[in-house]
Symmetry: C2
Subunit: 364 residues, 2 copies
DNA sequence: CTGTTAGCGCATTCAA
DNA sequence: TTGAATGCGCTAACAG
């Protein structure tokens, strides 16, 4: 463990090179404490000369601050999380913070492990889109906080967990979207994708609680769908709700099934992009024409949605803004010294983008 | 700076709690050196009891290993980089490494800053999709290496820089795609998007060198386009190459322009998704029908491309694999002790997905 | 097997 | 203003 030839120069090296004491060098290099102008210049020159770069790790051990944030999401390859990550990254970089990003593949055990990694690496704050459905499953989050690490939830608030969260109102967004369909004259509206239902519910009552009481985005969107039916006095039909695996294939299969119903839906509300593409495949196979025999609304606008024929009506989520806001809230907590009043739920606005995929039901 | 009440327990605390010396506790907790079974259990129990978690930062200062990788990309919100990041993240997590991700917005100055941050935080390796066009502009990368940090390039190899790189063969992929169009009978093929050309080239010679000698993806794709024309003995027409800003709007404008030509293109090769959506907008406005009056091939397959009407032929990039491979190469270098033979260029396969957007030119 | 003693690189107090 | 001395939490030779 002797210093190797390619060893990076330390403060001691700079001090020697400049002919001053370690602490003096440390002070000017660290930007704290006093130092005469002359000495300062000498030290800076020496540092430059030997290519000195402060060891941020050693500094962190000493100060207790790492200038690093932790981000835990299900999947970085998902454009939604990519946007959130970018928003966080941009906002934190302005404050000289960097971000350690961990993917959990929607697995709670991996999320717990990720949290421990971040605690071990002494990040100054954590932003997490948790897979925990209830406070009881969020012990790792409580643990991080009790370790003194501020935490902010993003995208998904965990019910019962008193922590700041930055989300969108999935329920309201879904309700509005479905209301749009109803306003266009639709009475039978299919719900594609949603909280994983192992088997087909027998009646509406079976759905109560699925999305209630938690902010799990799927559940919220289902509740919004139900809200809209209630608002408009429409009957709920279990046959119009997708069940089973959340895959594009199953979405396609479920929509195909709905199209075979005695009274098929005249419109579909898709809660994710894969639900939308699966639906489109089923519609194409069945010869159903979007915007004519079938109206469509999807979630998460994409540049592709606008160039579809016809263009698809979509709900746009402010991904960058979600990340930026989460970072802002986190920094506020950090600045406040690990405590800043009662936890708040910050709700960002979604935007409904009306395009030609919604039309009056085709009665032929 | 006295230890606060919520101070996290250290090895000393565990040692005290277990009634053993610090080093003994350290050895069992750190998983190195000897310790009797009895003592080991006592220490582990004590650690568990007081909620001890090792300070990874302190450990890193001591060992010189941070178990952290650095990733530098232009934009995490770009699904391509999101996929690469996910691939790296998954591969490195298996080895107990985490990833610090920095976005540079395609700005070289930001990239230099990002590199310095990673050097300062003592990452064990860096993977970068550099914005540097030549070795001369990659001093920061050389600096990282001379600091003893292994570096692997991903997506873009920097010409003249002797460093391992993991890329796809953009030139060959583009050539193949254009060859497909030629095989279908097309003679006038538009090139949408590409290396930023300030003004319209007057003749083909003006394009020589634009993509040659560097692996800048745009340039490579343009060269592949030219290769295909040569292979097939087709004439090059400057009017069929897009110029100006790389935005969806400009792509739309440029395609609109091409459609007004005396001899408009019968097919378009789009090098990015925004180029494709811009093209589609222009085609729709002009009443041109994809797969009939206009054939199309794009880059970066998406689930959307398959559900377009007609489905679009696309070149698929193995984003996850690019990341995984880059991590693999990086770890090999790390394991080899910062040196492992001559730098290699690892080229991953792209896949051409033939769909209905390519058809024989419509002669009407 | 165990504890003592040094470091790692930087921050910070305090006397000079 | 400066430098010596100590500490942060951990690793790691080294004796016992």
């Amino acid at each position: 463990m002797t210093s190797e030839h390619s060893a990076r120069p330390t403060i001691s090296d700079v001090a020697a090179e400049a002919g001053v004491g370690r602490s003096t060098a440390a002070r000017t290099l660290g930007g704290y404490g006093y130092a005469s102008e002359e000495v300062r210049e000498r030290v800076l020159a020496a540092a430059e000369r030997i290519g000195y770069r402060a060891n941020a790790l050693a500094r962190s051990v000493s100060t207790g601050v790492s200038h690093t944030l932790g981000l835990i999401v299900a999947d970085l390859a998902n454009p939604f999380f990519g946007g959130v990550a970018r928003g966080i990254s941009d906002a934190s970089r302005e404050r000289g913070f960097d971000t350690l990003v961990l993917s959990t593949h929607e697995d709670l055990a991996e999320e717990v492990a990720a949290t421990n990694v971040l605690i071990d690496k002494r990040v100054d704050g954590i932003i997490v889109a948790s897979a925990a459905l209830e406070a009881g499953a969020a012990g790792h989050i409580e643990q991080a906080r009790s370790s003194g690490i501020p935490v902010v939830l993003v995208d998904r608030a965990v019910p019962g967990l008193d922590i700041d969260a930055v989300v969108i109102d999935n329920r309201a967004a879904a309700r509005d979207a479905v209301a749009h369909l109803v306003a266009a004259g639709h009475r039978r509206i299919g719900f594609v994708w949603g909280p994983p239902l192992a088997e087909r519910p027998r009646r509406r009552r079976d759905l109560v609680g699925v999305g209630t009481g938690n902010q799990w985005t799927d559940g919220e969107r289902l509740q919004g769908y139900l809200d809209a039916l209630d608002d408009e006095g429409l009957a709920f039909d279990v046959e119009l709700v997708m069940v089973g695996a959340k895959t594009e294939e199953n979405a396609q299969a479920e929509v195909a099934r709905m199209l075979e119903l005695p009274e098929p839906p005249t419109a579909l509300f898709c809660t994710e992009n894969d639900a939308m593409t699966g639906s489109l495949r089923a519609l194409r196979n069945a010869g159903s024409r979007v915007g004519e025999t079938m109206s469509l609304i999807g979630f998460d606008d994409s540049s592709w949605a606008a160039v579809m024929e016809p263009p698809l009506s979509m709900i746009e989520q402010p991904t960058l803004a979600l990340g930026a806001k989460a970072a802002e809230v986190l920094f506020a907590t950090i600045d406040a010294g690990s405590r800043g009043g009662a936890p708040e739920l910050h709700t960002l606005e979604t935007r409904f983008i009306a395009r030609a995929s919604v039309a009056p039901p085709n009665v032929n």
